[in-house]
Symmetry: C3
Subunit: 675 residues, 3 copies
């Protein structure tokens, strides 16, 4: 695949959904907005294969021809994430069975991705589709499937495959499995492979954890299988991508529990993501940021925003300025493409009110008009802003196994509290770095190169093998800095709690241990180090009663547990380790991270500002430093410039120490002169 050499600005375009053929008019309006790419094809299998074995790609080809004529690039999606009614009628087994029930036909993403029948039909439509379109020069890449997950697939044949995997994992030794998973408990011991029960009813967190991991591997397998098919057709200058999404809490909230993004991305040429976020008064920019910090690290290169919101919902319709600033914000985070979902609002069905750039009326409107401004400036600045390089000195380690084990409602006690899940912990810590304008990379234990970072943050790594914990100890010993949190190191890779004093293994570097943990039940922190100036040292839900060995306490508990430390600091070898033993307020975490950063060789932002002023710095292919400044607030903000340079959006020369004003919901881009 060739390196992309311009910014892509686009929309998802569904010719098939239009109430009438207005493609010429649409293309005219796209060109007026400098839209240079559309994503098509990913959800209309029933249009392309109206009957079993009968194909009609006329609408797809018509769209491709029109786009080609207009000079608009195309990303073609395989159409497999929604399938035709006739397929469900003929082979009900293509409908996923989860929670013991076969799903009803209707929704998308209800296929059994392991079904041989589904795979056979999916392969045929993909191959037929690619054969038909492969000659179009304006196709720049392919997207396999869309927002793929495992959909809880757990029918009998999936259980059988899981048992097969367990046989391999434990080398056929059931006693070892019983021991590793603790199956004697409540008479769950399995004494022959034939007796292996469905895990649907299991109360064993180790077994459930293994199954959850297996389900994620099914996703990786499925996507890599699709990529292999597409690779049979695609040309050298075309890419294959996938549209990864994130834990959904009515918007992109956190790490995806049902897919291991790091594994699944291996088969791809370039990573794609969708990002949806609160808007209007609730816009902070943080979702774009954390999604980008993951996405950049999936392939160690720039990524594509395959979907983000235009108008979307009534509570997301952007205030004037927000659509514009967010487009550049994606670029600042490392994206090379910004693509809206979608061009036109749909007139029927389900997502009628997930609105596109155009309302149902297809007329220009304020949001479309703002997109035109984006398109114009993207085009003008493309060469300066494409393929930006980012250099984070802080890494955050995330982990699917820890996420799903501690977030499972079946054993809520494994987590922090009823309303505090893994992603809440991840986000409170992430958000603090974000607010303080400290760039982070997000990786997992399998992908992180520890020594590339000045500071590594390991939130709630409940499940981990011994070797990674040992690697962290070694990294610190050699001069690294790590911020650990509660629940790090607790259980081994089989979700078996370790018998060592906690935090297990890393206790060595942390220099403190605990045996008891409590709900603080209204108690607070007590500063014992001067680090925490705030009078409001609120904690809740989870407190490990730390006893310091070589560490010093930064904060203790008050009242009943006053003798115990809550947050500790330790010098270990040439490095330092901090341990946060309690679910602390955002304010406590801000103060802790300030302290940790100050002691960790992490360079602070030269702009000295914090949210709602967000600064994102990068280097472009000309080795110029580019600083993006965002005002995510309703108030005009002042900023003193530390550099000379040029403001790119308005082509204005800037001197250092100059006062800049950022209007509400706006962006400025500084190209530093001192490159």
């Amino acid at each position: 695949m060739e390196k992309q050499n311009n910014l892509l600005y686009g929309v998802a375009y569904y010719f098939e959904y239009l109430p009438y053929d207005r493609i010429d008019e649409d293309i005219k309006m796209m060109l007026a907005a400098n839209i240079n790419v559309v994503r098509i094809g990913e959800s209309t299998w029933s249009t392309y294969e109206p009957e079993d074995g009968v194909f009609d790609f006329s609408k797809l080809i018509y769209t491709l021809e029109k786009m080609q004529q207009a000079g608009i690039a195309v990303i073609v999606g395989t159409p497999t994430y929604a399938f035709p009614a006739w397929l469900a009628k003929k082979y009900p087994e293509v409908l996923v069975e989860n929670d013991g029930q076969r799903q009803l036909y209707g929704r998308r993403q209800i296929m059994d991705i392991t079904s041989p029948v589904f795979r056979a039909y999916a392969e045929r439509i993909i191959r037929r589709m690619l054969s038909e379109v492969i000659h179009f020069d304006n196709i720049i890449g392919y997207q396999v499937d869309n927002e793929t997950k495992h959909y809880g697939t757990s029918a009998a044949h999936v259980q059988a495959a899981f048992i097969q995997k367990m046989k391999v994992t434990f080398d056929g030794d059931l006693a070892a499995l019983n021991q590793a998973f603790g199956l004697d408990y409540w008479s769950n011991r399995i004494n022959s492979w034939e007796d292996f029960p469905s895990v649907n009813g299991t109360i064993n967190a180790s077994l459930a954890g293994a199954f959850s991991k297996f389900q994620r591997e099914l996703v990786t397998d499925y996507l890599s299988w699709q990529v292999d098919i597409v690779n049979d057709y695609k040309k050298a200058n075309q890419f294959v991508t996938h549209n990864f999404d994130f834990e959904w809490r009515d918007y992109s909230y956190g790490i995806q529990p049902d897919v291991n993004h790091f594994s699944a991305a291996q088969a791809l040429d370039v990573a794609g993501v969708d990002v949806y976020h609160p808007s209007q008064k609730q816009l902070t920019g943080v979702e774009n940021s954390f999604v980008g910090d993951v996405a950049r690290n999936l392939k160690q290169q720039n990524y594509l925003v395959l979907e983000t919101q235009a108008q979307a919902f009534k509570s997301w319709t952007p205030y004037p300025g927000q659509l514009y600033q967010l487009a550049f914000n994606h670029i600042a985070n490392g994206a090379n493409m910004v693509e809206y979902w979608h061009w036109h609002s749909i007139h029927n069905s389900f997502e009628t009110y997930w609105k596109g750039l155009l309302s149902h009326d297809f007329q220009p409107n304020p949001v479309y008009n703002e997109a035109k401004q984006v398109g114009q400036d993207f085009k003008r600045l493309s060469d300066k802003l494409v393929n930006l390089k980012h250099d984070a000195t802080v890494a955050i380690v995330v982990d699917n196994e820890s996420l799903t084990t501690t977030s499972d409602d079946r054993w809520m006690e494994f987590g922090v509290g009823d309303h505090v899940k893994y992603n809440d912990v991840f986000r409170r810590i992430y958000d603090s770095f974000y607010r303080q304008n400290i760039r982070t990379d997000i990786l997992n234990p399998q992908t992180i190169a520890l020594d590339q970072y000045a500071l590594v943050v390991v939130p709630m790594l409940y499940v981990s093998d011994r070797s990674f914990l040992q690697r962290l100890n070694d990294y610190i010993h050699e001069g690294g800095h790590v911020l650990f949190t509660f629940k790090d190191g607790v259980a081994d890779e089989h979700v078996k709690v370790r018998t060592a004093l906690q935090p297990a293994i890393i206790q060595e570097a942390v220099g403190a241990h605990y045996q008891l943990f409590v709900d603080p039940n209204g108690e607070k922190l007590r500063d014992v180090s001067g680090v925490f100036q705030d009078s409001d040292l609120v904690i809740s839900d989870w407190s490990e009663l730390l006893v310091t060995d070589t560490a010093t306490s930064l904060a203790n508990y008050d009242d009943h547990w006053a003798q115990y430390a809550a947050i500790t600091e330790n010098h270990y070898g040439a490095g330092m380790a901090w341990y946060l033993g309690t679910w602390a307020s955002a304010s406590v975490i801000d103060q802790l991270i300030k302290h940790v950063v100050k002691n960790s060789n992490v360079a602070p932002s030269p702009y000295g500002v914090a949210w709602p002023l967000i600064v994102k710095s990068a280097e472009n292919h000309e080795h110029a430093h580019i600083d993006f400044l965002f005002n995510f607030s309703d108030q005009t903000q002042q900023i003193t410039l530390p550099f000379d340079g040029v403001e790119l959006l308005h082509q204005e020369n800037i001197n250092s120490n100059q006062q800049w004003e950022l209007a509400p919901w706006s962006v400025k881009i500084l190209e530093r002169r001192d490159k």
Copy 2:
């Protein structure tokens, strides 16, 4: 059917439920209360047909004989809304299947009203029952079934019938159906009638809307089928009615989603309804009023209150005075009968604490004693108060399709907000007219004669065909007045959003349009016309960003959307149109309706009072004007009388300008002298 010539006052009476035969004692107590009608028979099929084909109507006949001897009229209900255990055992398919599950035997209203088996057995019991009772002269009418709905019936044969209907609707043209419903979306396209999937899993709002409408038609069909059977037996002076109920939110809240009352009433001779409402401090009278405003318009004549509460629940036990005032309130709304559910509280089973006039002890009690007072005054004033005529100049247009489409949890975005459904909108508008003592008729697009009204209100008519919207435009052009609201005109009769600027089609009369809509997210209205004096201009959940064409704005939004209008007024031809573009507080709606009424040739109430003082005026068969005055509050209220006349309850002469006192929870009835 002969015209009814006296007020009916009655109870539902279940001889079959009595713990012992006390009918003579019951009748003695009924006569003491001037109860002149009982409703019997509608839920005891298993008593009348203890085994398949074995009949025993002895209890029914015994009751009829006793009532005849006592001179008490009877309404006999067909016993089909609950069926015997043996029928369910023999033919499980009589149990309705909804949400993919056959219901368990036990509850009432769990039959499949389309089942041929159920229909055959129902027909047999009805015919046998009517043959047995038809000679009783004291039967004044029959009730078919009870509170019939479709119960979500959706088994395979119902789906098949629906497909058949779709074939007819679209003339066999699947492409037209795919186009109308937008089925290309998410690969839902149906390319052969054989592939038509069950709609149980559908995510297509058009398909779901069509199915919901089809289910309502099944109710109409079922009731008309029962009426046909009863018509084979009933005499010329007997009527057939049905007991319609309303959207249930622990009481009668709004328009019924599962039945098209206007269609279903066509087969009947007279409309019957049940009304249940909050009581004690929470009694407002509004439920009686809106139910009456629907019921009067079902057959364009007076209606029967077949059920309303006596003691009912612990939170409904009436304060002294409430039972009395409510009986006359029903008459004031257009009822010719008030019938309590029910005579005696039931000692077993389910509705044990839905208490009747009598407690479980069968002794006289305060509520029964108040009913005696009602009975005495009903009897005395029957000739003055029967067959009252009501003359509303305001009509409210309601619509089942709009209701179900915008209230469906599967696509909440089609509605106003999570906690604001169609009936909330209907009620907030209705309640404002009610509080201001402006009488309304409630009709649907198929039944309304626009030119009979000075003002037509069209709340949230999301689904509508072009012709009705055009009729509204024409009506305004010819001098009519219409108050439109948000979401009017959005989608066509197939729930496809129109591609015109919104509000589609009526934009012409409204003189304003919008492309964007937002959640106000804390923002308020800003008065720009002097119409809204209130400082508290609260809105929430839904705001269309209106751009005026020929209209003038009455109120704009503040802050981020300050340039857009929220409420507009337009002169169009000889008439006027108002458009309410946002979900506004009751206070805003009160002020808007005051303004609209003032500009619409709607005569204000001559009493100049508002809730908790409620005035209902009517004309009796002697052409006398009768004004009912109600105090729905705990405080004594003053009222200045605009007319000379006679207070009928106390036979007191009254002069205009006299000050009247209304005790808490009381009623007075003025017969004007100036008739």
Copy 3:
């Protein structure tokens, strides 16, 4: 069975769950803590019978041997409350079917206790297990099953057995059943035994009540069946017990709905219970107390605490002092054993964070260290504190039928209110006695000997036969005192509401009646007797409008129901009856109970203190009076001693009128000198 002659102090011990064999180390730590008993074996069937018919009791025997060597007594549990995967695979019918669904394999307590297959396999494993262990001298007793309930069992064969029971109950007379249950209602009449429908869908509270009672009888039958098997093996000096648990609301909250403890205990030698309770700031001691007041009365002797918490959950980790005081608190309530669940925290599966005395690290920790102190003092004081006798003069009558009928969500109107269930009423009354240091016995109508008590309290006895109500009348007439509450006497044993004025039958002793009841809807009480001094006379949810006959009102309602009494007092024969007609605040109930106690020959506590100072007095086998004093608060408390004596924990001589200090969360034990 011989009388137990020392205090037992123990833990549940699961050798099978250990990650490695550390039994010698465990025993060493147990002995260091003076632990003298362990409970083993009750949940590891799959370890003992790895394949159908293949047995391996090596781990069980190994544990027994080690305990024997250490001189530690053992209670062996039958392993039937969790069963092997192979059994579920082979015979799916052993999985209970409830709510129409067969449960999935995984959890414990999902067997069909009526399944002949399950019974056969259970009998075999029990007999094999007992044969293997019966020669161990250190076995002091057996526990049959664990926390057995009926698990909602309601498959077809259970329904058939229920019908069979109904035939017997009604002597084959269906008409009598129809009449008793009121089945004519909604056509539910059953006209032949063959038509009897499954009760799964019933809406008839009488039928549901009968089925619920039948399900409880299945539990009694199942436990007695297991006891019979164990009795074939056990020696004369061994006991059989069962571990009864209580209504679970995240802790032991109230009377168990699914088991009739009084019936089920008949087959046992000694009653065992588990008690779990809030801790830390939320510790009050009340759960230990009410569980003890039930448990003592199951066999009219001391009982065993088979399970209570050590560390358990993060919100239960005891403050320093709490574990110690609670151990003596169980003894003060009548227990002869305190056994923690469990020794070591489990490293896998489900209850990983229901922690034991030891954390996952197996090291001594603060909680274990406190348990060592308990063990030492238990050992030293065993002879003084074992087999304590308790003498309550107040009895509270509880009833399963009333509980389940009024707590059923299907007919919430039968109860007090949505958030006020039977056990809330029981607890608010119980807690008041507890706070006032008045010892109570808890019994049911079948087991209570009324004349042994000065005062009998009958909360919410909604379901009762005539004879018990008559017995209460007679008891009062002969000089007894009874505090009745709302809903007493309402329905007969078939859950048919009585046709008498309410409260039915006891109206005679109560001297007041009501016909209406209301939700107070914000209204309060009004004192009319001087009994209620508090200005805050709050009531909610339920108010019976009482009319006094011979009674006098202690409090009336205010406002709309001001003429009615809410709380009455009546002299009847030589005794007195009080009637609480409304759901009153804890403060009202405290005042009422003070008044009732003062008028009922109930001796007040000689210490004159109230919660958080709790006093429990008893007599030991040397006829010494032992007073336990507990401080359940964070504050040091003062107490003036009414007696001379010796404080046993510190062997300190005490003079009456001396001021004692009780440290926060502490206990002192006084042996009075005046025995």
